[in-house]
Symmetry: C2
Subunit: 222 residues, 2 copies
Amino acid sequence: MEVARPMLMAELSRSSGVPVATIKYYLREGLLPPGTATSATRAEYGERHLRRLRLIRALLEIGEIPVAAIGHILAVVDDESASLHVMLGAVQYALGPHPTPPAGAEADQDWQAASHEADVLIAGLGWTVAANAPARTLLVATLAALRRTESAPPGPSLRAYAEAMAALAAVEVASLDPGGHADEGARVVLAESAVVGMVLRERVLLALHRLAQEDASSRRFA
Amino acid sequence: MEVARPMLMAELSRSSGVPVATIKYYLREGLLPPGTATSATRAEYGERHLRRLRLIRALLEIGEIPVAAIGHILAVVDDESASLHVMLGAVQYALGPHPTPPAGAEADQDWQAASHEADVLIAGLGWTVAANAPARTLLVATLAALRRTESAPPGPSLRAYAEAMAALAAVEVASLDPGGHADEGARVVLAESAVVGMVLRERVLLALHRLAQEDASSRRFA
């Protein structure tokens, strides 16, 4: 959808499929940069606005990220001094779910054991992940829940899951590499790819995991 | 928590941690079988009721499965003529999300192409999965969304995801195998293990996938 010439608001709405009232809301919230004023009541918009609208929709509709958090992501996208790693992190950290440690986690034996288990795993794999990564908290919360449940089946080791995920993630991240300098347009496209890739591929993973279980169960128990 | 002797309602509540009012609700809904009446106003409950309460809580709290759907799962658990495969399926099919095909899916090119892609994948892997498996619909809905999005990064092939999931699922399902005859008690424990295993391991998968992405991004972009 390449539009070389400038557009008025109505045309930006038509080209993007975003209603005029919504575009005005994004302008007020600072999610969309202002157009170029051509008179007191008219402004022109360009390709940059179309790209930005597409990114906002992907963050909202696919990532289900709240508008307030989208502002933070867009600020990182616009900050060319932020590395691509920081930008991908801004997108991923905004994705739910966001469990929080329970009250009194420091005294919770299951939580502490789960936290230690996660540390040992991450160190053993040599992974570089932030101590405050939401996915780390999600992992600890889930491992703590498994510890609290008497009926958790043994299943594969945590390490087996982690190695399978590392192999997939390496290809996923490589496929996001813009190769060389990422200008403003490339950064916006990359951020959009990141949210689409991360959210939809997680759902592919979930669906295939369940189908693989059905097949394995069919072989063993049918 | 082995309790050999029969219990009155108050003791069943204490032992299970489920409030008396909730136990009465489960009895009314038929989720919990009645106790053995010892007088017009008293009934005794046993180990079987404790196990059943634990399963109901796992389905509700971990699986987030609605009470109406739990009744169906419990009926399959109680039906000893139902194979373990059918029982595991009853649990898994009740887990969300449950996307439905869009209106006019037959005429939706992206949906049809995604559906064909899923068929080719499943046939290529030689997987045995039901045509109406909710996870199949989830896969098709997600593949259709990826087709609709201009900015999906290529990433690993669908087959690479599927093979990684098959390797994990085979070990997961094997760890559910009761080995030999599964009596009523074993079936209830197995159903509970299935919901705990499926739901919590999906969350482990999700968390490790994100942490693996963070590490891969750190190596490549930081």
